[in-house]
Amino acid sequence: METIVSTEGLSKEYGGVFRVKHVDLQIREGEVYGFLGPNGAGKSTTMKMLLGLVKPTQGTVHLFGKQMNDKNRVEILRQTGALIESPSYYGHLTGMENLRVMQKLLDIPEKNLREALRIVRLENQAGKKVSHYSLGMKQRLGIAMALMRFPKLLVLDEPTNGLDPAGIEEIRELIKALPQQYGMTVMLSSHLLAEVDQMATAVGIIDHGELIFQNSLEVLRRKSAHYVAVRTQDSEEAARLLERYRPKREAGWLLLENLSDAAVAQINQQLVCSGVQVFRIEERQRSLEEIFLDLTGKEGAL
């Protein structure tokens, strides 16, 4: 698979502080790349550097195999569509007129406008002024503007922001279908880890400007080891008895890692023989949110 986006040592400094530090992104053709990170981690700044909206302090950006510079930026970006931070629009124009602005600028066929409106379900609102749109409708318009060219690379910064649950579901299904239906590669950032979990095929996690993880979702899940959770009638006594296994305590459960089947059987026998009643023994795996919390030290959903 061709690499659509790659960066080497990408960095951005503001006022002596590096907001993005030595980021080496790799996004392959046909991926839905979920770009995760807490607020202020550097997600939007990184995306802006990819699109040439912000000049990197250090490092390089390659899109479609070509290094981005002032001379070829226009040519390279003809194959991209983007929605960065909040949606951009002319409030005094209708939804359709806003799309026509892009159509005139980019010389896009008429049928693309209709198709983009249909995809984001704004056909019935296209005649209304955008200043009268709700936040969700403005978000959909922003996505439509990014989609209009049916680009090879689509960059979406928090695309489900402001949408209701039904809208989130629609956009999620749309994004999942884009690679197969339209041959697009999608890079999206989100704070909703559950969203990324359901949409992305590859994940990059950025924290304090550094890319701390980048691989497929499967690899991320496999990073989390399975662990055993035990609930007893006396967790204090149980924790004392199992001290050598270094258990963690959580809401009445004892959590033990790296246990073989034989070790689990031994623990059960030890507790029962010591008079501690065992209510539950469960095998668990960390959720994506727990992995994120471990990696960044922050809450996974904000």
Partner: protein
């Protein structure tokens, strides 16, 4: 370039931009006509054409910096309000061409407004029975000089309107320009040389020669277009500085 220009005109629909400019220049034209009318009643047809275009040049100094500030602000502000420079940037269009398209759009609106104002004043002159044929040379020099000075004012106003989201700043600069344009004729030439807004007043075609105590003789003269040319060159420099700033801006 035509595509970008037509896009600018498409974007300003329902903004009333042209009407705003027309209103301001309409007031200016009416004021000019009123001043000339008063002069005509007192002095007859002597130097009447020169008086008309001198009044117009003086009032250009008052009205045009403000009119251009308003025009430019209305056209640039929509990009700030909708945060659309970011969108235009990712649309992969050269920012320099977009900047020029905005400049050209504003300039064309201003030109049409001034042509309409001029046509209205010439119609007024014909109706009042001003003598002789229309002095085409005089009209041409005043109009050309006005457009040359306006290039500087527009370049400066567009730079400010694009650089500073709060349009109050651009309007304050416009008002300051209006003040300087109006009182500029009172400054000595050495001071006027550093105030480009005084370029409008330099297009005066009437010279006042003192005869003695409180007595003046008014003589016709050719408007001096050289100051306007110099201001135009300054305007080109300001334009490229503003364009460079936008092209280097990070979004």
């Amino acid at each position: 370039m035509i595509r970008y220009l037509s896009l600018e005109f498409y974007k300003i629909r329902r903004r009333g931009v042209f009407l705003t400019a027309l209103l301001l220049c309409g007031v200016e034209g009416a004021w000019t006509a009123y001043s000339v009318q008063s002069y005509f009643e007192e002095n007859g047809a002597n130097l009447i054409w020169n008086n008309l275009f001198t009044n117009l040049a003086m009032l250009h100094g008052l009205f045009l910096p403000l009119a251009i500030a308003v025009l430019s602000s209305r056209i640039c502000d929509m990009e700030h309000k909708g945060d659309t420079w970011k969108l235009l940037g990712t649309a992969a269009e050269p920012m320099g061409k977009l900047y020029f398209a905005k400049f050209l759009c504003t300039f064309l609106l201003l030109t049409v407004t001034l042509v309409l104002e001029l046509a209205a004043l010439l119609t007024f002159a014909a109706w009042r029975g001003f003598p002789g044929p229309i002095p085409v040379g005089l009209v041409g020099k005043v109009f050309l000089g006005t457009m040359l000075v306006s290039v500087f004012v527009l370049a400066l106003q567009q730079w400010i309107a694009m650089a500073v989201p709060n349009q109050l700043v651009a309007l304050i600069v416009g008002m300051a320009g209006s003040f300087l344009g109006l009182v500029g004729a009172l400054f000595p030439p050495q001071v006027r040389a550093f105030l480009p807004w005084c370029g409008y007043a330099e297009l005066s075609s009437v010279q006042a020669v003192p005869l003695g105590d409180h007595e003046w003789q008014y003589l016709a003269m050719d408007p001096n277009i050289v100051p306007a040319l110099l201001v135009f060159v300054l305007g080109i420099i300001v334009y490229f500085l503003g364009k460079r700033r936008l092209c280097r801006k990070e979004f």
